[in-house]
């Protein structure tokens, strides 16, 4: 018998092909060494929202759902994970600062609209449908980069691992999260409408992430336009180091 998590993973796997291509294009971009800060900025926009969104989802469980086992489980899960995610945006601010982008510039810059859309749809569902929707978002996003891959990127681009601490920390801390999430999902007394909503949320997350990664790549392209380049975060120090190795 197919479990809830197997069914969800299969669906995500089938429909995340374009997203995987876009993620690949970012990680293997020939100028990633210069433009990694722009990638980090996009991730910052997502990460800064995680703990507050989970706390809000937990509040919605308390406010709207009958005091059944599903509501209690969801509330506890969201609160526990909000605690885990709190402060992770600081890793990104530190990484950006180490690459020459002061935190004040990050805080002053408007996040991508695609990031706001990615996160915003979750608020719609948790306020107007059911806070279980956020599990679909977690199912797609909770997929840390492997440490071996990060080491390869560092070697290939010259970006120091120390400036990839957000990715590195997630790689080290999160490998068990996916299995934990799947086991928890399979233990829940889900109704068909819960399953539909989790899938819809996961699918919307894929679609919005496609826009986020497309935006990152679009910014990578616009770096050569002097007018656009003023707002794009770059790391000239890494670029110089990398180029000097090539000669």
């Amino acid at each position: 018998m197919t479990t809830h998590s197997q069914r969800l993973r299969e669906t995500v796997s089938i429909f995340r092909g374009r997203l995987s291509s876009l993620i690949h294009d970012v990680w293997f971009h020939p100028r990633l060494n210069e433009l990694y800060p722009e990638f980090l900025f996009a991730i910052y926009g997502v990460t800064v929202s995680s703990a507050p969104a989970m706390r809000t989802a937990a509040e919605r469980c308390s406010a709207e759902l009958a005091d059944g086992p599903l509501a209690a489980w969801l509330r506890d899960y969201y609160l526990e994970h909000a605690e885990e995610e709190a402060g992770h945006e600081q890793w990104l601010l530190n990484d950006l600062a180490s690459l020459g982008v002061p935190r004040q510039r990050v805080l002053q810059r408007l996040p991508y609209a695609s990031v706001a859309a990615l996160v915003g749809v979750q608020y719609y569902w948790m306020f107007h449908v059911h806070p279980i929707a956020y599990l679909g978002y977690i199912a797609v996003l909770e997929a840390p980069t492997l440490i071996e891959f990060l080491e390869e990127v560092s070697l290939r681009t010259g970006i120091p691992l120390a400036s990839m601490s957000c990715h590195v920390m997630h790689a080290r801390l999160d490998p068990g999260h996916v299995a934990e999430f799947d086991a928890a999902l399979d233990s829940l007394p889900l109704l068909p409408r819960h399953q539909d909503l989790i899938t819809a949320s996961a699918i919307a997350t894929i679609a919005h992430l496609e826009h986020v990664f497309s935006d990152v790549l679009e910014h990578f392209v616009r770096i050569d336009d002097p007018a656009s380049a003023a707002t794009i975060f770059t790391s000239p120090g890494v670029a110089i180091a990398s180029q000097s190795r090539e000669f």
Binding site: S13, G17, R18, L19, S20, L141, T145
Partner: protein
């Protein structure tokens, strides 16, 4: 009409694209509401995916974002 046919009709799956048996089975197990969601957000399973498909291993190594 099957789910795969609905996705083909919506232009999300290319008719000439050979879905694997496992993919067909997975898609056809989805509910009507789940297919509606796929069509609504236009997540494609088509040429772009199959011409530039990232190997599953790479996809796993790169991750997504991580919360």
């Amino acid at each position: 009409m099957t789910n795969v046919e609905r996705l083909q009709q919506a232009g999300l799956v290319q008719i000439h694209h050979p879905l694997t048996d496992a993919e067909v089975q997975s898609v056809n197990q989805l509910s009507a509401a789940e297919i509606d969601a796929l069509i609504s957000v236009r997540v494609k399973l088509g040429d772009d995916f199959f011409q530039r498909k990232v190997q599953d291993g790479d996809s796993h190594r790169m991750g997504t974002l991580a919360l």
